[in-house]
């Protein structure tokens, strides 16, 4: 009978101790890194699903202002849908002679009145002309014009366009 070429190894100790200290180090570093990258954006904007923001080189200034989002099917003010769109375009009945949108105008007027009330009650609070436009990159300029016209009519004249920071 043929002899086994290799000798059978002696059974190893199956108990394995996990280096838990180094694991804790790794987790801590991961957490610090994630927390750091968590707050690097200039603005706290979370576009709705399916919205693609255009890419551009933009400033680092942190701004808090009223947010108007233009998505494929609706215009949202602070996350609440206020006007419906059909393939990024306002419905004809919603557009006024000056190019603004009636339903968006109504929502912006409500926001403006709220700001005025707060400013009246608290002298430290100023009425803010800033507005952040978060628009899908496929939206036509006619829709953007209508949004800007509606905003300008209600005192929001300092436009900020939200973009994804490029290289």
């Amino acid at each position: 009978m043929r002899k086994h070429k290799f000798k059978r190894r002696a059974p190893q100790n199956e108990e394995m101790s996990l280096q838990i200290t180094s694991m804790a180090d790794i987790f801590t570093i991961l957490l610090v890194f994630l927390l750091k990258s968590y707050a690097t954006g200039a603005v706290n904007v979370s576009p709705s699903a399916g919205t693609l923001l255009p890419e551009a080189q933009a400033g680092e200034t942190s701004v808090e202002a009223l947010k108007v989002e233009v998505s494929q099917g609706a215009v949202l003010v602070e996350g609440q849908p206020v006007a419906s769109l059909k393939e990024f375009r306002f419905e004809k009945g919603d557009l006024q002679a000056n190019g603004s949108s009636a339903s968006l105008g109504k929502a912006l007027e409500k926001e403006r009145q709220r700001q005025l009330l707060i400013a009246k009650a608290n002298s430290d609070v100023k009425v803010d002309p800033k507005i952040i436009v978060v628009s899908d990159q496929r939206a036509p300029y006619s829709t953007i014009k209508s949004v800007l016209a509606s905003a300008a009519l209600h005192g929001y004249t300092d436009f900020k366009l939200a973009v994804v920071k490029g290289e």
Binding site: L31, L34, S37, S46, G99, S135, L148, K165
Partner: protein
């Protein structure tokens, strides 16, 4: 006075081992939560004043000698208009079916050399022009002229 035992691990001893397993549990939950709620898109803001509403930032009381207007027209053709002290219109045709951003940048750089005080431009576009093209053109103009205002409404 409390005295610890010889071994140093008696009930009164301050020498103890930290239970790292529970700390790792906490860290895992924290990392999962941060990953789930984090947005990895770095969002920036572009300033766009309202030319039509007349709210342009007036930092200088003296009006500019020339006004620069860039229009994005049909078939990816651009028009660069100069108004004021001097008037001129330059057409920039499409390049391979796309906006010729390089030619626009060169054109604006030439205008800036001619009028160094040129610090603002108005950008308008046709109704069907996509927002991404408007932003891209804005970015091109901003390399030479710092203030770009959206117009046409």
């Amino acid at each position: 006075m409390m005295v610890s035992g010889d071994s140093g691990h008696g009930s009164g001893s301050q020498d103890f081992e930290l239970n790292l397993a529970s700390i790792i549990d906490c860290l895992t939950v924290l990392i999962t939560f941060v990953l789930a709620s984090a947005s990895f898109l770095s969002i920036g803001l572009l300033d766009a004043g309202v030319a039509a509403a007349g709210a342009t930032a007036a930092t200088d009381s003296k009006p500019p000698e020339v006004n620069l207007t860039v229009e994005l027209g049909k078939d990816h053709a651009m028009t660069v208009k100069i108004g004021g002290k001097s008037t001129s219109t330059t057409q920039i045709p499409a390049k391979a079916g796309a906006w010729d951003q390089e030619a626009l940048a060169q054109n604006i750089a030439t205008l800036k050399q001619k009028w160094p005080e040129l610090n603002a431009a108005v950008l308008t576009a046709g109704d069907a022009t996509e927002y991404r093209d408007v932003v891209k053109t804005m970015e091109t103009i901003r390399k030479t002229v710092p203030a770009v205002l959206l117009g046409g409404f």
